[in-house]
């Protein structure tokens, strides 16, 4: 892609990120009631509430609180939670060590399912096998991932007893045990994504199969396989890469739900706990983290899209 386009996209990205911080901050600061009151409980004296409000910097005007928060985000000094007093940065770090690999494995499972099934569904579209795969993917899309998770727990944890139904062993304790506790969650996450992704793979392959350039390639003497490998893959990859990028938000969201099913101490659990404790600073930071990831991935997809497709340069 041209440097100019790249620069323009980058500026837009930064502007959007900035707007996102404004949205999150303003939504969460219009709250009635004071956080200090929430922390100290209803028994607290007005004087102690006032003292804590000052200590937390909540007596400053909103714009100063916003600038302070933004500064913390930019310098990665996130401070401490009002409620649990724990440093937010390390809390997020610990939960990322669960959610990151979960999403990675989930995506992997999704791709491993989607590519062969999607290609097969396209190649065998005229017979029963293709129709069966297509219907299966329709059902796969419709089943909520938490139901898949519970089904996996029922079969592999409750009935067979092969894996644990819940909990997480930290990576530092045992890499193997940590991996094992992510197997069922990753499958639950990946199955549903795979079903969705396989539909895009199928339509991408169909488009390639019907394309003029593939007919030309065949006409100049390439075998079906050669033509597909040499001309098909790169063209077929473009829509699939796009969709892969578009799937990242849904994987993150899926991970939040799946963590709840398997009681994994990931980003989703941190976020939901923070919501129920009204731990607003943590909510703000984690929500921003997710928004940043979504926007940056979106940007990267757009960039790679242009690298794959010379017509867009």
């Amino acid at each position: 892609m041209t440097p100019r386009y790249f620069l323009r996209r980058l500026v837009t990205l930064v502007a959007t990120l900035f707007a996102a911080t404004l949205v999150v901050f303003s939504l969460l600061s219009v709250l009635p009631g004071s956080p200090a009151q929430v922390i100290l409980g209803t028994q607290a004296t007005p004087a102690s509430v006032k003292a804590l409000t000052q200590q937390l910097g909540l007596d400053h005007p909103l714009w100063r609180q916003y600038v302070h928060w933004l500064h913390g985000l930019l310098t990665l000094r996130l401070g401490h939670s009002y409620i649990s007093q724990l440093p937010i940065g390390s809390q997020i770090g610990r939960s990322l060590a669960v959610t990151g690999p979960l999403i990675g494995f989930g995506l992997l499972v999704g791709i491993v399912i989607a590519v062969p099934f999607g290609v097969a569904a396209a190649l065998f579209r005229r017979n029963a096998a293709g129709a069966a795969i297509t219907s299966l993917s329709q059902v796969g899309i419709a089943v909520p991932n938490f139901i898949v998770g519970l089904l996996l727990i029922l079969v592999f944890a409750v009935r067979l007893g092969w894996l644990d139904a819940s909990g997480f062993t930290p990576w530092s304790q045992s890499v193997w045990a940590a991996f094992k506790s992510l197997v069922l969650p990753a499958i639950a996450l990946g199955l549903v994504e795979g079903a969705l992704l396989s539909r895009y793979v199928r339509s991408a392959v169909l488009d390639v199969l019907r394309s003029d350039y593939l007919r030309t390639a065949r006409a100049k003497g390439l075998s079906r396989r050669q033509a597909l490998v040499r001309h098909g893959f790169r063209n077929g990859a473009i829509p699939v890469v796009t969709v892969l990028g578009l799937e990242i938000p849904s994987l993150i969201i899926g991970a939040v739900v799946i963590e709840n099913v398997f009681t994994l101490p990931g980003v989703g659990t941190l976020l939901l706990q923070a919501v129920s404790n009204r731990d607003l600073l943590v909510v703000q930071d984690v929500v921003m983290l997710v928004a940043v990831v979504v926007l940056v991935v979106n940007f990267l997809v757009d960039a790679s899209y242009r690298l794959l497709d010379p017509r867009l340069r």
């Binding site: 579209r125 297509t134 329709q138 899309i141 139901i147 339509s203 991408a204 169909l206 578009l246 969201i253």
Partner: protein, 288 residues
């Protein structure tokens, strides 16, 4: 901006008519059955959906076709009342997305290439950074979880889909020769949008709404499963799964009945949307 999922699908997914008509029929039947269930539940359920009884965790029987839950509430009655809640929440979410997304998409298309177009689409990108669940979490943290926050979150988070689909489709129509002719007659942009663009993209929007309904049901189920939707004791399907989860080993069906209903509803609207795409969009048919 990269192509949306919907654009990719409408552009390239052109399944054969042979397969699509049955899919519209099957999807339509499932949707009709669930709508009927919800309509009946408006006036009558076999038992009260939220009042506990002594018959705790009863198995399936003539009295309780789907058994009872841990508070002795009839599962069938709760599923029926849940259908009502699900359809209602889905409908409002889709309405919010349409009401927000279509005007934005039309305006952006009409102002193509201008600063207005750019600003509108960047605003859409901004919304896109907050998926439904994240929006629901922020709203729940700000004002407490309720049916309204869930519907708002799903609806607002779906605005980008409608805005982008509308913009892309409108651009196509605006580039056509009959629009050029209308311009030559000095028709105003508003009149062109109303008389030429909207009727031409209506089919696409109906299809998209049906597909979004499926997504909204799935999202609502996820939110109520996480406790971010309609608060208990309302019998949302997601909350029923959450409640039944602790009895998974003892009574797995308690988890899977609501799960099956969610899956059926989503499947129904998805199939209906796919089928309608073929039935309503003559352009796709001509290309076959």
């Amino acid at each position: 901006m990269s192509a949306t999922a919907a654009e990719v699908l409408t552009r390239s997914e052109r399944p054969s008519r042979r397969r699509l008509h049955p899919s519209a029929a099957i999807g339509g039947t499932i949707v009709a059955a669930i709508v009927l269930l919800a309509l009946v539940a408006l006036f009558w359920t076999p038992y009260h959906a939220t009042i506990p009884s002594d018959q705790v965790l009863a198995p399936m029987s003539g009295h309780h076709p789907f058994g009872t839950d841990e508070y002795g509430r009839d599962v069938l009655s709760r599923l029926m009342a849940g259908a009502k809640l699900t359809l209602y929440a889905g409908a409002i979410s889709v309405l919010i997305a349409v009401a927000g997304g279509v005007p934005v998409g039309l305006a952006a298309a009409a102002a193509r290439g201008s600063i207005v177009d750019d600003l509108l689409m960047r605003a859409v990108d901004l919304i896109y950074a907050f998926p439904a669940l994240l929006a629901a979490i922020v709203l729940a943290a700000a004002v407490g979880a309720s049916t309204t926050t869930a519907m708002l979150a799903i609806g607002i988070a779906s605005i980008p889909v409608f805005a982008r689909v509308t913009r892309a489709a409108s651009l196509q129509v605006l580039g056509s020769e009959y629009v050029l002719a209308a311009r030559a007659y000095r028709r105003s942009t508003l009149a062109i949008l109303w008389r030429h663009v909207l009727p031409n993209i209506r089919a696409l929007l109906i299809v998209q709404a049906s597909l979004l309904y499926a997504i909204a049901i799935l999202a609502e189920a996820g939110l109520s499963y996480l406790g971010l939707g309609t608060p208990p004791p309302a019998p949302t399907w997601g909350a029923m799964v959450q409640d039944a989860q602790q009895y998974l080993g003892r009574d797995p069906l308690l988890v899977f009945w609501p799960g099956i209903f969610i899956a059926l509803a989503v499947l129904g609207f998805n199939l209906l949307g796919d089928g309608l795409r073929d039935l309503l969009d003559p352009r796709l048919r001509e290309q076959r």
